[in-house]
Symmetry: C2
Subunit: 351 residues, 2 copies
């Protein structure tokens, strides 16, 4: 076997990361937060790779955010100390693991209801561990999070438990429209003489509105490191800043104006923008209009020519975070040269 040296040695469908673009994205988001005078905390769900988190921290990030305890353990094993899990951790086994994690570093978790808080408190007391706890304030998309009044009640309860530190408020996404609710909550807390060390906002779209919420002390953003078509469609970035490509091969071309690629729902996932499953850089007018597990169907009727069997195409995915999660490795490229082969260390885990 010849050693793998350049992108041309890579099989398909593989995931390419343009290191120059990734580094530019890391620097740009850090600068944006520096200019706002707030801390930046990258969310690692987008890459799940400790070496990339290390680069984000070296650029100035205060710590990382993880979405699961299992992810946090992988990054703690890699030596990262300041880890926030902006998620309700539920269940005795998970909170036990969370307590062990809290003994190893500076771990912050969030809650939006009393049952979750009580579970975490019990686990910390049982383990003799201490953890920082933020309260999640419900945002306009009404996923998780609670009301200002309940946030105050939760904060008071956190303060009463020796093994818990009240760390502040968390919001996702922290769109500008949420500010009145945030201000109301901060006033309730202030009236009760409860100090709020951190107001943590998040979201790749919300970062564009962060200057409209001066109460924020930090932002969590994940997708920015690679960006994707969804981010472009959402007005957050341009295709020129998208650092991830799926390298795919044309494997069949027997119908007029249509070819089949070797990438489908198991490699480019099933999310769409305008009914398309990915943006082909070589053919901006082509439409990936359907995917099976290992097949992508592409319509070239709007293009003046189309590729042949064996041709290699490059796809900017709709959503990088779910694509990373499908693959065992990402390949970091400097130009055509393969500079990094990263294991997606924190993918496929349960807890």
């Amino acid at each position: 076997m010849v050693a793998m040296r350049t992108v041309h040695d890579l099989e398909t469908p593989s995931i390419l990361i343009d290191l120059d673009l990734m580094e530019r994205n890391i620097a740009a988001m850090q600068k944006r937060c520096d200019d706002l005078g707030i801390q930046f905390r990258p969310h690692i769900k987008t890459h799940k790779i400790p070496d990339i988190a290390r680069r984000q921290l070296e650029a100035g990030a205060v710590g990382i955010a993880c979405q699961k305890v299992s992810e946090a353990e992988v990054f703690a094993d890699a030596g990262i100390k300041d880890i926030q899990i902006p998620y309700n951790i539920v269940g005795a086994a998970k909170t036990r693991r969370l307590a062990q994690l809290a003994k190893r570093g500076d771990v912050t978790v969030t809650v939006d209801n009393q049952a979750v808080l009580d579970g975490i408190a019990t686990a910390m007391q049982d383990a003799g561990a201490t953890i920082s706890v933020m309260v999640e304030l419900v945002s306009l998309n009404k996923r998780t999070g609670t009301t200002p009044e309940e946030a105050l009640a939760l904060a008071k309860r956190i303060i009463k438990v020796d093994n818990l530190r009240f760390a502040g408020l968390m919001i996702y996404p922290s769109d500008a429209a949420i500010r009145p609710r945030l201000q109301k909550t901060l006033k309730l807390l202030k009236d009760s003489e409860i100090e709020v060390a951190t107001v943590s906002g998040g979201g790749s779209g919300a970062i564009l509105e962060s200057h409209l919420i001066p109460e924020l002390t930090e932002m969590r953003v994940g997708t920015y490191i690679f960006w994707d078509w969804g981010s472009v469609a959402g007005g957050m970035t341009t295709f020129e800043e998208c650092a991830m490509r799926i390298r795919a091969t044309v494997v069949s071309a027997n119908e007029p104006n249509r070819v089949i690629l070797d990438g489908g729902s198991k490699s480019i996932h099933s999310e769409t923008v305008d009914g398309c499953f990915g943006y082909i850089t070589e053919y901006p007018d082509a439409r990936i209009y359907k995917v099976n597990e290992e097949h992508g169907y592409v319509d070239f009727s709007a293009c003046d020519h189309q590729p042949q069997v064996g041709d290699i195409l490059h796809i900017i995915p709709v959503h990088t975070c779910v694509v990373t999660n499908l693959h065992n490795q990402l390949y970091g490229l400097r130009g055509d040269w393969i500079e990094e082969v990263w294991d997606v260390a924190a993918r496929g885990l349960v807890w």
Copy 2:
């Protein structure tokens, strides 16, 4: 740590396989093919686990089908000899690996165009390997596959190459409506005195129509081993035969008639039936109407009660094959007891 013994020891979101149901599904599909007098070749894309393939072979399957060379290698490493890859394998590195695989067992591949065939022929000649080659006939869904006339031309070309054996015709999906095209192709081949050893049909829906195509000599089906909501919606099976459940936990319940689960697009995927991302067995009228990466949004307004934070729910996924691909392990249960912890050995691979 207490040893993991029953389902109650499992974290969420984890993937449970009911072994009794799986074994019943294995036996039922084998019997269906036995009764039709055709060979059965399970497609392992649904589970990607060699131990499960072994059970399918022990039940009477003639061999397996894989969708990728990398999958086939994993199963060859596990000692399985008769492997079909019903896919156009394109690219010099992939066909080199295919040639090495062909040296280890009885490997069959398919082609639907001359460029793919030439690439395989060259790789086999270079490696001194021999491989069986089927020609794919285009079906009504027009994914891959070619016309009767081109199928004849490809068969003639295969026969002329020493390192290739013409093995017959492949169709996916082999719906009954394809029979006239199949018959036309078989007549063209017969008129040219080309023997057709195998006519391989495939598809979880198409198996229901296999008796209408007596020309078939074998069927490839994958999803049947677990079934899923998509199969139920397609009239192929019932919920009672679905062997896979995603075990998930309610992590938030702050809105009326709505709770948030810890399963989303990274654990239950993004495919839908009737706008729902999964079927909750405990609440048949609940609707998982939205997913983020680690959150599932469930509407309980049609239910007379709803679960609380900490409750465990079980989801029959829309499409088992893409769910398997998201996880590192599947858990095989006998009742509540964990009898198997399988690594999803062939997931996340590139080539």
